[in-house]
Amino acid sequence: MLFNSFIFLIFLGVVLPIFYLLPNKKSKNLFLLFSSYFFYGYWDWKFCSLLAISTIVDYYLGKKLFNEQREKQRKIYLAMSMIVNLGLLGVFKYFNFFVDSFSNLTSNFGYDLDFLHLNIILPVGISFYTFQTMSYTIDIYKKQLEPTNSFIDFALFVSFFPQLVAGPIERASNLLPQLHHKLAPNKEQIQKGIVLIITGLFKKVMVGDTTGRYVDQLFGNPELYKSPELLAGLVLFSIQIYADFSGYSNIARGTAKLLGVELMKNFEQPYLSTNITEFWRRWHISLSSWLKDYLYISLGGNRKGKVRTYINLFTTMLLGGLWHGAAWTFVIWGGLHGIYLAIHKAILGNRKINISYRYTGIISLLNFSVKCIFTNILVLFTWLFFRVKSLSEAKYFLSKMIYWESSELTGIFIRITLAFVLVNFLIDFFEYKTNKHTPVLLIPNFGFQYGILLVLLGTTLLYMFQSTPLPFVYFQF
């Protein structure tokens, strides 16, 4: 079920009143669990079994891990959890990638391994919920978390519908304790929840989906378009992926708030970052912090000398790239970010980065703007590899950038791109300035707040009514 569809709004309209009417914690959690499975099963009920397998295995292994004192046995339990979760990912997401890559290699020697290719589809959100459940068993293994005794609470932790298919990837230490209490949203949560859903929907539908229509066409048939048009397509993709994902995360957070649950922020205006390290503290925060805690630090982090730090950064980002998709283009995307981060780390040394800008004069603003633009150019280049379907497509695109050809439609493409950039910047500016995802609530006049929200909601619904919802970009991961 897509957040940007009417059926989701109807689903929410049914779930919320029943949820509010239920008397106790157990019935509320049970009902939410049922609703979450319905939400997931609406796409394809057969894949609910994967969710169930991941839940059952990690629930019992978590308990075993906690009660076991022998280190060797504990490692076996942890390995079992990893094997099951990564095994699911491996089969459904990476098997064909490795088979195809290997087959390409062996075909040079006359061996055809294409018969190994499986006709399977990638279950929606599998990368998100497997990482979430894995963090549960790893935290118990590290003795940073006690397992829950409630199977229902744990099952709900894994399948909680607002963040099930696209995050934020929650930690058990944040979400599970909330599920142990009777969920009842307060007035502030309801207020913020509604605002987050409306602004998130606007961002996802009116910015993300609309840029997506341009991007799909320009990247779908690049040979039909000229250099300025393709460059506009790349800029528009950078806006699409941000508006799409951050809008979706806002809807997720807003929906969770309506159920009395606080989810972590996933985005903090990443395109206003002045360097690449800051970018990664603002972009897909739940994944980058997951990779940092469970991969980068496990590899040794910065504790084993400078060179190892750079290698660890690079490896983490490379695997982070592979998490996004089973293709070499994602590996390059991750690798490029790894290189950027390692270089920035080398330049930075032991200095800490400052991630909030305060205006102190025109020179400081100029300095901030130049750094932002430079960071955005670096990020923009990597988005090319994220969006293209193959390396040859990336090569074609880059050749169009080098051997520049003018277009009679440059003017209109600039106008379109600027409109998207400005609306995106306007939203980010208010969020950055107020340090909140609900800046509209800071307007002292309630009438003014409602007026703005009404127009945003009305326009979004009008567009949704006349178009087919575009799937969320990160669903494929």
Binding site: I7, I10, D216, N221, V423, F446, L454, V455, F465, Q466
Partner: protein
């Protein structure tokens, strides 16, 4: 009171920002029509458009109210002018002008004939043969085209315009007259009141489009997605399953006579049997024989519909070849055997 004023102000401020955004980003369709007492509903001059129906088209209704590349009303000397007429297949909102079959034909002909060739897109969505006849006489004729290429589909051999703001043909004996019943109609006066809002606000135009969609058949699947079961059996597509046979009424016969007299050349874009050998119809579908693609397939939109980019290219080549022969014959130009475009 403060809150009520704030509410109104909030709506106004936000509407202005959203309107500026949607109209400059073209995320919603703009109103691209205008009213002309002589021509009826006409394309609005000097209006840019972006269309995502099936394909992707960006272009402009030029200052003279036809699509894209603009040529002055007065034709220059030593210029061959070709007007393209027909329905949405000719108008082709789905492709960029540079990929439009007419432009491809223009480029090839200019090169092969070593002469200025101007191809003008007078296609209009929903136009049938009757509409084309009227549009030619009320609008296209003044451009003085040397050739007028009409492209018709199986359903276009009729004279009942579905558009209430277009002039219609009246057939009396052997005479065709153009009438304008819409003048002084309630529809027109209503349109005149609402048109300024539609013209200058993309949001209002979108609301108007949404209003037209408020039908049970559209609303329920849109709201309930796959939970809504549509029990209707889809109508058979005769154009695909059966090749229709067409006989012309005396009225159509007369229209074709007059169009042919006015430098008309006819093409058909679907497989039909025309039970009349008085006129020559060039069949465009033959372009796709032995081709390994579906000319109506839009892979990105995952739909079928008008000609796709590949089809435009092949039709452009085909029509250029046809027109080269015709032009050489009628203009007495020497034959050039180079066929580098093939």
């Amino acid at each position: 009171m403060k809150n009520i004023l704030g509410f109104i102000l909030g709506i106004i401020v936000c509407l202005i920002i959203v309107e500026a955004y949607v109209s400059n980003s073209f995320v919603m369709d703009k109103y691209i029509n205008d009213y002309d007492p002589e021509v009826g509903r006409i394309r609005r001059a000097n209006t840019e458009y972006v269309k995502f129906n099936e394909g992707f088209g960006i272009g402009k209704v030029n200052n003279l109210s036809y699509l894209n590349k603009e040529f002055a009303i007065e034709k220059s000397e030593n210029t061959i002018r070709i007007a393209l007429m027909g329905d949405s297949y000719v108008e082709s909102f789905q492709v960029f002008d540079r990929n439009y079959f007419g432009r491809i034909m223009e480029n090839i002909l200019s090169e092969k004939l070593n002469q200025t060739v101007e191809v003008m897109n007078f296609g209009r969505s929903g136009f049938d043969i009757g509409d084309c006849y009227v549009y030619y006489n009320t609008f296209v004729k003044k451009f003085n085209p040397d050739y007028v290429l009409y492209i018709f589909g199986a359903d276009d051999f009729k004279t009942r315009s579905s558009e209430p703001l277009l002039p219609i043909i009246s057939f009396q004996g052997t005479e065709l007259t153009i009438e304008r019943p819409y003048i002084d109609s309630k529809y027109l006066s209503k349109l005149k009141k609402s048109e300024p809002f539609l013209k200058y606000s993309t949001l209002v135009n979108s609301m108007n489009t949404g209003r037209k969609l408020l039908k049970k058949d559209y609303i329920l699947p849109q709201l309930f997605d796959k939970l809504y079961k549509n029990n209707e059996i889809p109508a058979e597509n005769n154009e695909i399953n059966n090749i229709p046979q067409i006989t012309f009424t005396p009225e159509i016969d007369l229209i074709l006579d007059q169009l042919e007299e006015a430098n008309g050349i006819f093409f058909i874009r679907s497989d039909i049997y025309i039970l009349n050998d008085k006129y020559t119809f060039n069949n465009i579908t033959q372009v796709f024989e032995n081709k390994e693609y579906n000319p109506h397939d839009w892979k990105i939109a995952k739909t079928t519909g008008h000609w796709n980019n590949q089809a435009h290219r092949d039709i452009g080549l085909y029509m250029a070849e046809k027109m080269e022969k015709i032009i050489r014959n009628t203009h007495g130009l020497a034959t050039n055997n180079t066929n580098k475009h093939e």
